[in-house]
Amino acid sequence: MERIIFYIISVLMIVFAVMAVTNRNIMRSIIYLLFVLIGIAGIYFMIEFYFLGAVQLTVYAGGIIVLYVNSVMLVEKINTPLPSVVWWRKLLAGSLSIFGIVLTLFAIWSYNFVKIAESQTKDTSINEVGKALLNYGDRGFILPFEVISILLLAAMVGAIVIAKTNKPQENNELK
């Protein structure tokens, strides 16, 4: 049962990933990409890692895709297909993808997987995730957590600086 669902999700993800890259309409590409990301979330839910699945849905499907859709809505008109790609770019992207696939497959096949019993799989509760994120001891993730928060702060400051206008007369009009 689980195996069948896994294969269905995987095939759908691969099909939608290919469609996302090859489609000439940018909004449709974004929606196909959304299906791929939801598929990944589905696999997280299948292995019962609910927290990561929900984060995947919130951050990628609910955040990044919505942002993409929003910006495309601002700049792109309907029924305007993207210009066709130059041949050498197609070639470059294709060869890079094949190189990536070969590398990943080589890594998977050469790694000696050890099958563990069902009882050994660990149920990850959100409390453990939270404690690990704010732990500065062994197996703690406080440093990456803080670095990412500084990165986000920098991004926010940057956005404000870009959005802010320096013209004094416009500021007067706003008042």
Partner: protein, 350 residues
């Protein structure tokens, strides 16, 4: 009692087929049951809205079809099913057609987590509340796509307004929920309800909980695109907003989903603040089906408040809407979370 019915069905199915087939059949049955609840709930809430509107405007509202006009919305739905599905020639057909399903699917997924009573909850995971918020954040896409793919300027403006409004107010909903999670210490919905046996969170959390409840109600109204925040489909400015080009059943999907989303928001409010399916002071703990009764009563009371808003406040302008969120609700919310954390830390909660 309810559990007995479920085990009876389970045993009956086990007698008919193998365990694996029973598992799949039960999944299908639960899915169909939830679809049924979805449709009935949507239709009932539309009827309730029209009756409440009548009540506020000193008239009767629908009163001819069935007792108190209860079957009026079913008749309306039948009319919508029989209508032709029209669309524009220049629309992006593919996206235009799948857009309503985003809204419907996410509303259904969120419904699975709602605890109708102690026994009736389809999907009780350890990140319950977080999952609800993450799923509802995808629903926006349905409205976005409808607005864009219709190739109509009113739809597009409606869609853009949705984006701005829902992304902003999602923050407030999320942070109001986080405030209550600080008090509860868990995200699992069944545990949150169990913890309120000693007192509903709106009483045990007192000041920060009441502030969080008020923010949640304001932001929840905005999340479900209802008056006074219905800029998405402001009739006087945009025709019908993002669903101008939709007709027949596709329009009905949006219409039903809007009401079901209101139900979901009301259910989250009931679970987080008013003790879910618990009876007040535990008076009916021994009676079966009481949980379902109390949950329904509380949710309808909260929904009545939403409808009260609708017929009391005039519509906001888009800049007023954003000012309210970013300059008032968000800072209050942040202070409120700190206040709640402080109260939990110092043990000032009841």
């Amino acid at each position: 009692m309810i559990l007995n019915i479920f085990t009876d069905i389970h045993n009956l199915l086990l007698g008919l087929m193998s365990a694996k087939a029973v598992h799949i059949t039960e999944l299908v049955l639960i899915g169909v049951a939830y679809l049924g609840i979805f449709a009935v709930l949507g239709l009932f809430l539309v009827w309730l809205e029209r009756r409440v509107a009548g009540f506020f405007q000193l008239r009767l509202g629908p009163n001819r079809v069935g007792p108190s006009g209860l079957f009026q919305t079913i008749a309306d739905a039948l009319k919508l099913v029989s209508k032709e599905l029209t669309g524009t020639v220049k629309a992006d057909k593919q996206l235009y057609k799948i857009a309503p399903y985003f809204v419907i699917t996410t509303a259904l997924m969120a419904m699975a987590l709602i605890p109708f009573s102690q026994e009736i909850q389809a999907f009780d995971i350890n990140i319950g509340v977080f999952f609800l918020i993450s799923v509802s954040s995808i629903g926006v896409l349905g409205i976005f796509l409808a607005g864009w793919s219709s190739n109509n300027k009113y739809s597009l403006i409606g869609g853009m307004r949705t984006g701005i409004q829902m992304i902003s107010y999602e923050l407030s909903v999320g942070m109001a929920v986080v405030t209550m999670v600080v008090l509860a210490g868990t995200l699992q919905i069944s545990e949150i309800v169990e913890l309120q046996k000693s007192g509903w969170f709106i009483f045990t959390g007192h000041i920060p909980a009441i502030i969080a409840f008020m923010i949640f109600m304001i932001a929840g109204t905005a999340e479900s695109n209802r008056v006074p925040f219905d800029l998405v489909e402001a009739e006087s400015e945009l025709g019908a907003g993002f669903h101008t080009e939709y007709s027949g059943m596709r329009f009905a999907y949006y219409f039903l989903a809007e009401f079901v989303n209101m139900f979901i928001i009301a259910s989250i409010a009931v679970v987080l603040f008013f003790g879910g399916w618990l009876s007040p002071f535990g008076i009916t703990d021994a009676i079966p089906f009481a949980g379902l009764f109390w949950f329904t009563v509380k949710v309808i009371a909260v929904i009545f408040i939403f409808m009260w808003f609708r017929w009391t406040f005039p519509r906001f302008r888009i800049d007023q809407l954003l000012t309210l969120e970013w300059k008032y609700l968000l800072p209050i919310n942040m202070v409120n979370i700190v206040l709640m954390a402080l109260m939990v830390w110092l043990g000032l909660t009841f």
